[in-house]
Symmetry: C2
Subunit: 346 residues, 2 copies
């Protein structure tokens, strides 16, 4: 099947003008007589002329498209990111191409290649937890492709970055738990080595210190990348629940683990917050519907996407190589609900 499009040539022929004149009239160039311009514009409208973006891209050596590398769209945090990105990108006339890594390093490498082969003008990347080697990204960057990191940043990449204030987010959550009477607070996180987790752990430690609660190594539960399934959590939770000095509350530093924690409590009849209180990072839009409803740290996912897209487009459209980079840090929001209710005296 083929879709026959009207071109600038058709207009030129019909009006007895040259393609140059038509092209100029269309983008109101100064050296075009108003009459001619109007004539062209009217006729173009009449025959529903639409410029061919592919020809323009070839000519201008830019595609007006940006690529996103993200772990998965079926996750509220990321889909909100994308919405933020699109709101800016569309306003600026860019198309967005989304690619999902599914937290797999290999797929991420393929996606990076794919996007560059599709000649996007720039890439927004939130690396997979699994990724340790960033050369698939840095090599593109070195060859001159604008790249902006968001949420999960690449330390060694010197570019614009947009992140959430994870230290403060975790700090707020833990201070809140402590304020409600919980002293024995465990910390559940994914891979300890990634910057996001590192910062949240820092926030947790800062809060403990501020409330004079000693940090206990055995209250730390972490999951290497790829081991975030329900089964993995269940195993470690079972062990934790059997500790003689077991925690009264947990702070969870990952959306996925927060959801699996709810699943664990439901399946094992653990009453939250009486038996075990909790608060954690989550952007799930139904966290108010669980029983108990969840106290969560919400990330400004939409704003994160907006800021990242803004910075990337600025970089793409900059005439000279950009050398000064900024890292924007956005605030999280603590939403207090039932899962962290005041501790009852026993």
């Amino acid at each position: 099947m083929k879709f026959e499009a009207v071109t600038i040539k058709d207009i030129a022929k019909a009006l007895g003008l040259s393609t140059s004149t038509v092209s100029r009239a269309m983008r109101d160039h100064y050296a075009i007589k108003p009459d001619t311009r109007q004539l062209v514009l009217d006729y173009a409208k009449k025959i529903k002329y639409q410029p061919n973006p592919i020809a323009v891209s070839l000519r201008e050596k830019r595609s007006r498209s940006i690529g996103i590398i993200i772990s998965e769209i079926a996750n509220n945090f990321f889909s909100q990111n994308i919405n933020g990105i699109e709101s800016i990108a569309n306003k600026e006339g860019y198309t967005v191409i989304i690619s999902q890594s599914g937290e797999s390093y290999e797929r991420e490498v393929l996606n990076a290649q794919f996007l560059s082969s599709r000649s996007v003008d720039g890439i927004l990347v939130c690396v997979a937890t699994e990724t340790k080697d960033f050369s698939h990204i840095t090599s593109l960057y070195q060859r001159g492709l604008p790249i902006v990191c968001f949420d999960r940043v690449i330390d060694e990449l010197d570019t614009h970055k947009v992140v959430v204030d994870n230290i403060k987010g975790a700090y707020d959550g833990v201070i809140h738990l402590a304020g409600n009477g919980y002293k024995k607070i465990a910390f559940i996180c994914s891979s300890e080595s990634i910057p996001v987790t590192r910062d949240r752990l820092q926030g947790y430690k800062n809060a403990l210190a501020d409330r004079s609660i000693p940090f206990q190594e055995d209250y730390l539960m972490h999951f290497p990348p790829g081991d975030l399934t329900y089964k993995d959590l269940e195993q470690k939770m079972n062990k934790m629940m059997k500790m003689k000095n077991r925690p009264e509350a947990v702070f969870i530093a990952s959306d996925k683990l927060t959801t699996n924690f709810v699943r664990y409590c439901k399946l094992n009849d653990i009453h939250v917050p009486d038996q075990l209180a909790m608060a954690g990072f989550s952007n799930l839009d139904v966290s108010d519907l669980f029983n108990p409803s969840l106290t969560v740290i919400k990330s400004p996912a939409f704003e994160l996407g907006e800021a990242a897209a803004q910075l990337l487009i600025k970089m793409i459209e900059s005439k000279r190589p950009v050398t000064k980079f900024e890292t924007r840090v956005l605030d999280t929001q603590l939403v207090i609900r039932e899962s962290s209710a005041k501790r009852k005296k026993k």
Copy 2:
């Protein structure tokens, strides 16, 4: 910032060949000496040559990209659709461009224009509930752009379609409720006029008939497009709960309403299933975590996307105009959980 790419000309110059020869060698054309071919391939690999897809698109008059028009990605059903679409599209070498209507007719019109101006080779569309006039889609189709409908189809568009067996889905759910002792079953749905709802209502009626339960007009609750917010549901639910002959169970024919129903019960302390049992359509991946866990009809969202993408690509790649169209109907799955537990005798 600019990203300098290697072209076929660079290779030709370096090896003292013509661009024609290089181009042919790259796509192993029969009339190329194996030695030459290998020479070109090796050199291309060495300097990391990647064909410029924009130039290819211009030449071949196809972009190898397909557009999706969907209501929103921040919804499990749709994000699963997209995953299914991408799995096929990427395998076949197509890029996917997603556009969200947010259930708004106006945005849908803009999206359709945008995608066609971006010269996609075809479009997968799931129309907004609000949309009554489909000319923004049909006009593109008439001009020769391949289009496939999925989930929410356009009756008047004669093309391939992929849908869920909504009649049977609703039938199964209602039969299940009836089997568990509920005779007074209300039906909650969004706009009655759209095909999806119409079919689900039909399934409901069929089930009632099969179980000899008379259909009651006042057990029907429907929400016009745009009125699916929590407030709207709350108002009608309050009224329903005050009916003298109020229902013992509800069957919900929309994902969004299912979630809002859970919210209503939680906020109003309605005990499910004792006070009011429920079952409904939902693809939410945490419906097992609510209290009670939800009995749901799950749509094969991923498979829906796969099938739609397959049909679209077949249509795009067909040499001659396609005139025979198929409508694929996929089965739903009934997942029985607590919210529809056997009715207790009172």
